[in-house]
């Protein structure tokens, strides 16, 4: 299962930057990596794709010294290298940009870059040196960041640049990026890819871990596909297609497009009028947001995470309070004060698949039959006498839901944390969709969900729409918004920046709206 490609043949003269030979790693009974061999040529951008839990992050963590492989070896630039911790990795010229940034929020950019690489007893000399290096790097790679800005004051896009700068400051020749575009606007992502190409032009080697096939196609030279701990394919990007990669990831043919017929839009179910939210720090999260939601449509809300979508969902769901404005459901006003109760929303016919299923949507140590009634547990069918729960019915009900939503393994006694991300999400969906709500709120329906389950989840959402229900969809995945929505609202900084129909717009326009630019407002 060698990863030799035609590329590697050409570069025979130069030793490959990374060579992994027969890497295996087990966590208890789970074989996270099974005899993986992979070669990355020097100066290449190499992509690694795979579903959640396929073993991508484990493999990279072994390379970066977080985990120790059970067997196998690593060669860096042709030299056998033992990497026991991140110090060894840095010494070998490897830098890593984690999915969740490892930055100190109340430190400046400069302090963060120096952190862990300070020299001498006082900070002064290190900071002065870093400032000089940062200036050079900025010119070389389009990596401009204000060195004296606090991390908490700069956008995620800039925070990510700081992570890259940290690695370059430590003279990384090999850069690993784990899901780098998850938090970026399309524009920021493009900028990131320009940076990566610049780095490549300077001879750096880049490993890009992602689940977005489009990025793989755009930016990588070679790509490896992982599935269930094994590396199933390594191929030159130019010779493959997204469909082929998806099939290699899932192990069967996958429908990347959503199959849906035109919407039959009915009367208005919900009206949101001039909704504003100011948070506890006095920051305005939502500014004067108004829209209508109609029967039989999927209204998609696009936007980069943190632009007010979460607050909007929370107010409608009865979890968060609005500062001003009004929400009408079937023409009747609903409580949006801090006394609002999510339980009463459900009685009004509003169901909610929350963005964060680990913290909100599921109680992780609860068994599935407890989770499939969660939020509806006081409904008559789940209630017994004297305050008891009707556990017999709850279990039966769970068994039915698990069957209808193909939740595997179909064991109602299994606790939520034992299921994969996709199956967890199906538990939440089964619970909310089967209540047959008038309005379904869905936040990030496929975050952390594998491709196979995404197809199923999208189909369920479309089916609910076709049965005449109104759906409000919030997602940071622009592809998902475009594929599912019948109408798209774009949010930026708490404001609805624009409304578009998916057939009359494109990613470029939506990307501009997401960045706060109105393409129609040109002078």
């Amino acid at each position: 299962m060698s990863g030799n490609t035609e590329n590697a043949g050409r570069l025979d003269a130069v030793a490959p930057a990374i060579e992994l030979i027969g890497i295996s790693k087990a966590f208890g009974p789970v074989q996270a990596n099974k005899d993986i061999s992979m070669t990355v040529a020097k100066g290449a951008i190499h992509g690694i794709v795979g579903e959640n839990g396929a073993g991508k992050s484990t493999l990279m963590s072994i390379l970066y010294g977080f985990y120790k492989a059970d067997s196998g070896s690593v060669k860096i630039n042709g030299v056998p290298t033992t990497i026991n911790d991140s110090h060894d990795a840095i010494a070998a010229g490897i830098g890593m940009v984690h999915q969740h940034f490892m930055l100190v929020d109340n430190f400046t950019v400069l302090e963060n870059v120096v952190l862990g690489a300070e020299e001498g007893a006082t900070l002064g000399p290190s900071l002065r040196k870093a400032r000089k290096v940062l200036r050079q790097l900025a010119e070389e790679y389009e990596l401009e960041v204000d060195p004296d800005a606090l991390i908490e004051d700069i956008s995620v896009g800039f925070q990510q640049r700081v992570e890259i700068l940290k690695a370059l400051y430590r003279q990384a020749e090999i850069l690993i990026l784990d899901e780098p575009t998850g938090v970026l606007t399309p524009d920021e992502a493009d900028h990131l890819f320009r940076i990566l190409r610049n780095l490549k032009a300077q001879g750096k080697t880049i490993v890009l871990i992602t689940h977005k096939l489009r990025e793989i196609m755009d930016v990588t030279d070679t790509v490896s596909v992982m599935r269930r701990g094994q590396m199933t394919k390594t191929i030159a990007t130019a010779t493959t297609s997204p469909e082929e990669l998806a099939e290699a990831m899932v192990g069967r043919r996958v429908l990347l497009e959503v199959d849906k017929k035109p919407a039959e839009v009915g009367e208005t179910v919900m009206q949101v009028k001039n909704l504003s939210v100011t948070d506890m720090h006095g920051v305005k999260r939502l500014k004067d947001v108004s829209f209508e939601l109609k029967r039989g449509e999927i209204l998609g809300i696009a936007g980069v995470a943190g632009n007010g979508q979460s607050e909007l969902l929370e107010v409608i769901a009865g979890i968060g309070a609005a500062t001003s404005g009004e929400i009408l459901m079937h023409g009747e006003s609903i409580d949006i004060s801090k006394h609002a109760n999510a339980g009463l929303r459900r009685e009004r016919g509003i169901s909610h698949v929350p963005e964060d299923r680990h913290q909100r949507g599921l109680v992780m140590p609860f068994m599935t039959w407890e989770n499939t009634a969660f939020g509806y547990h006081n409904a008559p069918e789940y209630s017994g006498k004297w305050g008891l729960a009707n556990q017999k019915f709850m279990k039966e009900d769970a068994r039915g839901k698990m069957e209808r939503f193909d939740i595997r393994p179909p064991i109602p006694q299994l606790v939520a944390s034992h299921f994969s991300g996709g199956n967890q999400q199906k538990i939440v969906l089964a619970r909310e969709i089967e209540r047959n709500p008038d309005v379904l709120l869905i936040g990030q329906p496929t975050r952390g969900v594998d491709i196979g389950a995404i197809e199923f989840i999208h189909q369920q959402i479309v089916n609910l729409r076709d049965s005449g229900k109104a759906i409000l969809l919030v997602s940071v995945e622009l592809d998902e918004i475009q594929a599912l929505s019948d109408r798209i609202l774009v949010m930026f900084d708490g404001v609805i920046q624009g409304e578009r129909l998916p057939e009359n717009t494109n990613e470029g326009e939506l990307g501009l709206l997401m960045a706060g630019v109105d393409p129609e407002a040109k002078p």
Binding site: G28, N341, A342, V363, F366, E370, H377
Partner: protein
């Protein structure tokens, strides 16, 4: 529940092994003061479990152990219930103390016709006063976010001062001792001696164990029903695991915090029925004797499960009674028994991974793990 271990290992073998380790460590401490650990164990076990009616060398034994066990079941359940809603109720000591005041007030206010009525009213008073004392920290936590650990500790101190004041002031009997007048005789609760007598059996006449032990077992059963069978218990556990999830499900954090703490306080309070009404038959200083704090260890060791709590309470009952016997028979200071209790708490509470992690490795290797 651990996913890698069979249930009997998780809930049976590991606690037993940690306990064995704790005893081994205690043995070393005993050796270091020049005593024979084997003899110490013999004296403790005999002193805690013997029966004076059949054994003439036995002075107090099981009847005393079960009396202490009763206290620890109530306070252990109190901590366990709150803990399911992720509330750490350190205030059992104060809640039980104030409940004792409540019991004394009602006992001294009426001319009781018989003990069943006195028991019911006394228990209600204990629950109301115990819950009442827990209500203020609960409200401050729910409404103002004041940390319940801090406030319940402060309320323990306030309770101590309040009871001290009452017993040298308004509630003091004539005389110079800081204690209330003795309760009417008709309010006295049946002891084990009385209860065994009903069915024609004999039991130690001097044993303080009384009918509240039965109440404690019933309370344990009801707590099990509450936590795992009712919708309220479901909401408490959901809230305990994730407040955000609870809010999402329409569960009011305010309500759960209040209700869980009120139930917890009421359970702590019931302990006073055992000590104040059942044993002393008047309110004395220091009626709680640290049982509120031992309840924390009991709940911890019993994994907040009623069955575990009852077993752990019995163990601590043995330690308390056996420890007193040690002092009497071997002249070992009572501080020694505190050391042993501390070792048990340390091993079962915070050093459990010492046993758990090797066990997990063994079972994974043996391939017996159940996924």
């Amino acid at each position: 529940m651990n996913k890698n271990l069979p249930k009997w290992v998780d809930l049976g073998l590991i606690p037993l092994l940690t306990l064995a380790l704790a005893f081994a460590a205690s043995g070393l401490v005993v050796l270091s003061i020049g005593q024979n650990p084997v003899e110490v164990v013999q004296v403790m076990l005999k002193g805690a479990l013997c029966n004076p009616t059949t054994d003439s060398s036995c002075f107090s034994g099981i009847g005393h152990t079960l009396y202490f066990t009763t206290n620890f079941i109530f306070t252990g359940l109190a901590v366990a219930v709150a803990f399911h809603a992720r509330l750490f109720n350190i205030g059992g000591e104060g809640q039980a103390g104030v409940a004792g005041v409540g019991v004394a007030l009602v006992m001294l206010s009426f001319d009781w016709p018989n003990w069943p009525i006195a028991l019911v009213v006394g228990s209600l008073a204990a629950m109301v006063f115990g819950a009442g004392w827990a209500a203020i920290p609960a409200y401050l936590q729910a409404k103002r976010g004041s940390h319940i650990v801090i406030t319940t500790i402060m309320f323990n101190l306030i309770a101590g001062a309040l009871i001290g004041y009452l017993l040298v002031g308004p509630m003091q009997a004539t005389g110079s001792l800081p204690e209330s007048p003795t309760f009417p005789e008709a309010a006295a609760l049946p002891t084990f001696h009385d209860m065994f007598g009903w069915i024609g059996l004999d039991f130690d006449k001097n044993a303080p164990a009384n009918i509240t032990f039965i109440m404690a077992l019933i309370a344990a059963f009801l707590v099990w029903v509450l936590v795992w069978k009712t919708r309220l218990g479901y909401e408490m556990r959901a809230f305990g695991h994730s407040e955000k999830a609870a809010v999402y499900a329409g569960i009011s954090p305010m309500k759960i915090t209040m209700v869980a703490m009120l139930i917890s306080g009421a359970l702590s309070g019931l302990m006073a029925v055992n000590t104040v009404q059942g044993e002393a038959e008047r309110l004395v200083l220091g009626a709680v004797e640290g049982a509120g704090f031992i309840g924390i260890a009991v709940a911890l060791m019993g994994r907040s499960h009623p069955v575990g709590v009852v077993l752990a309470a019995f163990l601590f009952g043995i330690l308390t009674q056996g420890g007193a016997e040690l002092q009497f028979a071997l002249g070992i200071p009572s501080q020694m028994i505190t050391v042993i209790q501390a070792l048990i708490i340390m091993f079962t509470g915070s050093l459990e991974n010492l046993v758990r992690i090797p066990m997990e490795k063994i079972f994974i290797r043996a391939g017996k793990g159940v996924a």
